[in-house]
């Protein structure tokens, strides 16, 4: 058989640049799909909210009595509970987002084979990335909003700046969801998930969550500054205690950057894994 002049096709199936970044709008249908699934499993949602609340009460009632008050970097003094609460808030956004972004995504990718079916429709890998990250951050935000209500009720919010805590927990959810999904695309088996616990636990404990950054020696402080949770917790603390400054914007920038990078990586990786 004669072969006509060969014109090499690009190795991608989702062209225009804009669509490569923001998708085709198909993401919302995946969010809707996930919402349908969780409508039946609302108990799973509740359990994720309780964990940070338990931490808060354990520390607020018990540890706080032993520790007393804490001085913030600007010199303001707050109760230990008020110091820890915003960090628990950040952690709730992190936990909520990471669960769906890692275990949830991996299950759908490897076992439910969900995306094999989804990508046969006009929905693109970038849509899948955006959809799953959005869903994960929604779950994280749901926990955080409930947590904010708890903080408000027990009087742990002392500034109107706290209104901005809402967008910040959403941003926190976005950053962790995007990093989580990006990492998950590199997972080969469930065993690999022990790495997530291995990373997530120290992040939770050492990101200036339970004590100020100044406790660490200078060199270690830089290590802590690499933790996304440090930026989220510090930013939320500045908001709930009314100690906002120009430095707050740096935290915002870091979280935005992590989220965007994670999302782009996720889209690329899904394309590479699924469109072979």
């Amino acid at each position: 058989m004669s072969t006509p002049t060969v014109q090499p096709s690009p190795m991608r199936l989702t062209p225009p640049l804009l669509q490569r970044l923001v998708g085709t709008g198909g993401a919302r249908h995946l969010v809707e799909r996930n919402a349908r699934v969780y409508r039946r499993e609302w108990l799973v949602l509740v359990s994720g909210f309780l964990e940070p609340v338990f931490y808060l009460f354990s520390i607020g009632v018990g540890v706080s009595k032993l520790v007393g008050d804490v001085a913030l970097p600007g010199g303001e003094v707050v109760t230990y509970t008020a110091f820890v609460a915003p960090a628990m808030l950040a952690a709730s956004a992190m936990n909520g987002a990471v669960i769906d972004a890692t275990f949830g995504l991996f299950f759908k990718l490897k076992y439910n084979k969900l995306y094999d079916a989804v990508l046969a429709t006009p929905v693109t890998p970038v849509d899948v990335a955006i959809g799953e990250i959005t869903w994960a951050l929604m779950r994280g935000s749901l926990y955080s909003i409930s947590f904010i209500v708890v903080m408000l009720v027990i009087g742990l919010i002392s500034s109107w700046w706290a209104v901005f805590a809402l967008p910040v927990v959403v941003l926190t959810g976005f950053a962790f969801a995007a990093i989580g999904t990006a990492c998950t695309t590199y997972m080969r088996s469930w065993q690999d998930f022990s790495y997530i616990t291995l990373v997530q636990l120290p992040i939770f404990l050492f990101s200036a969550t339970f004590y100020p950054l100044s406790v660490y020696p200078e060199s270690l402080q830089w290590v802590v500054r690499c933790s996304p949770l440090y930026h989220s917790a510090t930013l939320l603390r500045e908001l709930t205690t009314g100690t906002v400054g120009p430095g707050s914007l740096v935290h915002v920038a870091v979280l935005v950057a992590l989220g965007v990078v994670g999302m782009v990586v996720t889209g690329r990786r899904l394309e590479k894994l699924l469109l072979t």
């Binding site: 060969v6 096709s9 690009p10 991608r12 199936l13 989702t14 249908h29 429709t121 469109l275």
Partner: protein, 327 residues
Amino acid sequence: MLSKVDGVSEQPMIVAHGLVKRFGDFTAVDGIDVEVSRGEAFGFLGPNGAGKSSTMRMIGCVSPVTDGTLRVLGHDPAVDGARIRARLGVVPQEDTLDFELSVMENLIVYGRYFGMSHKQATERGRELLEFVQLEERATSQVEPLSGGMKRRLTIARSLINDPDMLLLDEPTTGLDPQARHVVWDRLFRLKQRGVTLVLTTHYMDEAEQLCDRLVVMDRGRIAAEGSPVALIRDWSTREVVELRFAADDTETSGEKIEALVEQPERPLRALVSRVEVLPDRVLLYSDDGDATVGELHRAGVEPQSVLVRRSSLEDVFLRLTGRSLVE
């Protein structure tokens, strides 16, 4: 509802020239030329590993083309993948149903992926459940469904967007005979409504039942092309005589028959175009089976049993792709 009868465009649904798919060093599809026109039922026939599924995935715009050109519904998958997929229905080799959703939700959510409104998707989903006879299982979970039911649900799902072309990768593999016939019946109805069907199979009866035209693929290439009847005419004889002998006798009898057919003075030479000796039987390809049997008898060949049958696509298939197992 599913009617596609219109003469809008004569443009082919699929055009492939020198289509190649490579995975690293392995060449799955090795430069094939294919053209499928509107309303046609087209089949890719071939053994496992012939490159059928790889070809289907490229047509379905979920696998990038390595080399050559491919146009699906007039568009380039590398540029307009999403737009093409919007008008395709896909039944993959393995069911990819959403196990976390109910039967009806599978259809609704899938319709939503195509941008259909909730109302549209629900109405259409109801029609389709009726079409595949699953309306009583609408609220059931997917997991407990039988293999045949899952397959039918996958077919219903592939029709949710009222596709211009349906891609079916081994639609009935693994189903019991009843379930296969139900699936064939539904596909035949779709074909009558003018839906273009493109399917892969290694079942000859499936290809003969459903396909207007087909290609036989072997090791990534096209070995033959035509209608089932034309392929049988071109690559086999009208009839096949199957002779069985006592177990240890088959080989010697086979050699004897081969020698007989070689003798120029015997009428057998004109009657038999090919002899094939298999471990358990001897096949004689002939346009006149009964005359062949008579001549054999006259020559003193005494088989235990004789069967004269019409040649089938299976004979073509085995002629073209060989009898040895390739995995």
